[in-house]
């Protein structure tokens, strides 16, 4: 059974801090790893990673994948109160003959305070 474990479960930081969120996984036929930000109901797509060692970057957010050690990190620099959300990690498994399946972790709840 596919497994995705995120840590920490929750985190409280001050505005301006840098945070690192972790995601480790076990999956058969790995296809990709995705990061989402969930503020209310809908997860918002952040990154998709398929290759090891290649950093994806968008503004103050960046992410990298290690396919040998089976983990990914999401970094947020100079955090702002608007970064407060649940960050979800998901891995996609390639299924023969059917669609890829995403398995989600339970998320890291980030709270950024003034």
């Amino acid at each position: 059974e596919d497994k995705v474990v995120q840590s920490p479960l929750s985190l409280v930081v001050h505005e301006g801090d840098t945070v690192t969120l972790n995601c480790s996984y076990e999956v058969t036929n790995f296809r990709s790893l995705l990061w989402y930000k969930q503020e209310k109901k809908a997860p918002t797509f952040l990154f998709m990673l398929t290759s090891s060692g290649i950093e994806k970057k968008s503004g103050r957010l960046s992410s990298i994948l290690d396919k040998k050690e089976l983990f990914s990190i999401l970094n947020i620099t100079a955090t702002q109160t608007g970064d407060s959300a649940i960050y979800l990690c998901a891995v996609a498994r390639l299924n023969t003959g059917t669609a890829s399946k995403l398995t989600f972790g339970t998320g890291t709840r980030l709270q950024v305070t003034l």
Binding site: L34, S100, K101, L102
Partner: protein, 114 residues
Amino acid sequence: SAVISQKPSRDICQRGTSLTIQCQVDSQVTMMFWYRQQPGQSLTLIATANQGSEATYESGFVIDKFPISRPNLTFSTLTVSNMSPEDSSIYLCSVGINTDYEQYFGPGTRLTVT
């Protein structure tokens, strides 16, 4: 990405009744997916819906309880049948963009069953 809408945004229903949730996309997509997020939990895939074929359900989910329609490449519905309080969740549709594992989510439907 794509613009995805869901209706209703939220609803409060009595046990024993059924609710149909609609998902509309602004472009044609092959794969559409339905997820459930129970309170305090992460996302769980209910089923994959392809146009012109029956939906593929994940373990623990059955067609009689969660019938799905996919009449064309931009629209799908999920019905939650014979509801009980345990069905209180956020229901999300997602679409595969470029690939079936690069998924973008709709705004979600928050369902409360009393």
